[in-house]
């Protein structure tokens, strides 16, 4: 049984999502704006989602896709909490630059 997902070889999914994941990681490491970092983390999660979906499809096993739903829900919750924290930080220091957040060190 062919489906649209399987039109592309599995390794390509793997490469793509690894690539996306790495972009996410690089973004997290290189950017200083908290919101962009948040986005990059979302990107990493989505890379995982993509990977899971493709694996799930190739294995003919729906578990992976179910898992993706979990991830999406959790990611949404995470973003909600993250943004809320960000808002309160912004209220206090009027900035979203993560480098300013270094009151506690050593």
């Amino acid at each position: 049984m062919e489906n649209t997902i399987q039109a592309v070889p599995q390794n390509w999914y793997l490469l793509l999502s690894t690539f996306m994941f790495c972009i996410g990681v690089m973004g997290v490491l290189l950017r200083r704006n908290a919101i962009i970092i948040l986005m990059c983390i979302e990107l990493m999660l989505n890379a995982v989602n993509l990977l899971l979906v493709s694996f799930s499809s190739y294995a003919g096993n729906a578990e992976g896709q179910v898992f993706v739903f979990f991830i999406m829900v959790v990611a949404a919750a995470e973003v909600a909490v993250g943004l809320a924290l960000l808002v309160s930080i912004y209220r206090n220091i009027a900035s979203t630059d993560i480098d300013i957040l270094s009151k506690m060190k050593w």
Binding site: L52, E63, I71, I93
Partner: protein, 460 residues
């Protein structure tokens, strides 16, 4: 499984309590509820069961750790009563309580998961609640910073965890930890590289969660910035939950491929021991000190994880229990002192031995237990872990752990010295009744575990 459901219900009740205007009675009700749940949890003892199509399993392992976690939460809730006293806190008390109980839910899932999905959900439930709680002092930059740092790094690490899970799923086609274990046993000699990478990524993520070096960076900052009570929670419940999950993951899933991760685990363990103890030497802030001490304890517990054979699980449990009671006692006293003196520095403890000998004695015992000196529980935990590691041939690591315990004694003693030989400051320190109760109970437990460790090692 029932434990989890009841706990979730208790959390929901907390949220609803606001509607019924039960603020005043909320904490007693919650405490009572947890006590009931604690006893219900005991019923699963020796009744291993699987629920939700293999998503959760009850086993003695999960029951024991659940019991411990519920106990910790119970203590935290008792402490919360006199901790959240400002008017702002009063307003949010039901939220706080509910979120704390949800944290427990996450932890319970982490003890009894049988599926990667539940592991992930457990970790996230736990973490997200904690992000909120760590940042719950909205107007304090420190608290904000702690919450946000924790959040950023925690979700970053979660992504690695997920990527690992995805890769393993890709290779094995299942999320069930038993299934993965079966796959591994079958393919132990020729494992797919993808699987190994997935496993290592998961291990990295778990190392992050247990705050092992070199993934420990979040811990000191977050511990310092978070409200003290939450720090207590993080250093006990969260750490124990993470370790239990980590232990289960390795012992059920990856046990046959552990050789492939040996270097990582060994290096991490050694680094954790050294960094935790060495950096703690130089700390002046008590919470930060406990954070580093917590890192070093993670090192000892990693030793149990590495050994992973025989009765390591009971060693880990004993260690966790000993560590938890000592930490809780220490935090209960520290919170009292912080409140009285308004500083979190060790100098706040100066002369406590004269001002309040009972409190000082309690903290001394807690510190000695953390330092691993008999007859307190901390010693036995260490002893069992060292013994297990020795049995499995990790002599060098044990030796390193011994050396680092010697270093560790220095900073625990620093607190004791401050209490007994520095001139007293002018603040009067007087713990409330609930704090006294907690301190006495925890210290007594610490001694009981120390004198009858057999009672606890036989649990698993």
């Amino acid at each position: 499984m029932n434990t989890l459901i009841y706990t979730a219900c208790l959390g929901l009740f907390g949220l609803l309590a606001e509607i019924f205007n039960l603020r005043k009675y909320l904490i007693p009700i919650m405490v009572l509820g947890l006590a009931v749940i604690f006893s219900l949890n005991l019923q699963t003892w020796n009744h291993p069961e699987t629920h939700f199509n293999g998503m959760l399993t009850d086993s003695n392992f999960s029951t024991a750790f659940s019991g411990l976690a519920i106990f910790i939460m119970l203590i935290i809730l008792i402490l919360a009563g006199d901790f959240y006293t400002s008017s702002d806190d009063e307003k949010h008390i039901s939220d706080y309580m509910a979120i704390l109980v949800f944290t427990l839910c996450g932890a319970l899932m982490m003890f009894s998961y049988a599926n990667m999905a539940m592991l992930f959900l457990g970790i996230e439930t736990l973490s997200i609640s904690l992000y909120v709680m760590a940042g719950s002092r909205r107007f304090e930059v420190k608290s904000n910073e702690a919450g946000f740092k924790y959040f950023l790094m925690g979700s970053f690490a979660s992504a690695f965890l997920l990527f690992g899970i995805a890769l393993i799923f890709g290779v094995t086609g299942t999320f069930s930890i038993d299934g993965i274990g079966v796959y591994m046993r079958a393919h132990a000699d020729q494992l797919d590289p993808l699987f190994i990478v997935g496993m290592l990524l998961m291990i990295f993520a778990m190392l992050f969660k247990v705050s092992a070096a070199p993934f420990h960076f979040w811990a000191p900052d977050v511990y310092e910035g978070a409200p003290s009570l939450i720090t207590a929670l993080m250093s006990t419940l969260v750490k124990i939950a993470a370790f239990a999950a980590f232990y289960k993951l390795l012992s059920v899933c990856f046990v046959f491929a552990l050789g492939k991760a040996e270097i990582i685990l060994t290096v991490s363990c050694a680094a954790t021991l050294l960094i935790g103890n060495l950096v703690a030497l130089t700390q002046d802030n008590f919470k930060r000190l406990l954070a580093y001490s917590g890192i070093s304890h993670a090192g000892y517990m990693l030793l149990a994880i590495i050994s992973l054979q025989g009765s390591t699980d009971s060693a880990l449990f004993l260690y966790s229990a000993g560590y938890a009671v000592a930490s809780l006692a220490a935090f209960a006293i520290a919170i009292t002192v912080f409140k009285a003196t308004g500083t979190e520095s060790i100098s706040g403890f100066n002369g406590l031995g004269k001002k309040n000998p009972m409190l000082a004695a309690g903290l001394s015992m807690a510190m000695l237990s953390l330092a691993g000196i008999p007859p307190f529980a901390g010693f036995f935990g260490k002893y069992f872990i060292f013994s297990e590691a020795m049995r499995n041939g990790y002599q060098n690591l044990v030796f390193l752990a011994i050396i680092s315990s010697i270093i560790g004694v220095f900073y625990y003693m620093k607190v004791i010295v401050a209490m007994y030989s520095k001139p007293a400051n002018e603040f009067e320190v007087k713990p409330t009744f609930s704090y006294q109760l907690v301190i006495i109970v925890c210290i007594l437990l610490s001694i009981i575990i120390g004198v009858f460790p057999g009672l606890f090692t036989k649990l698993l």
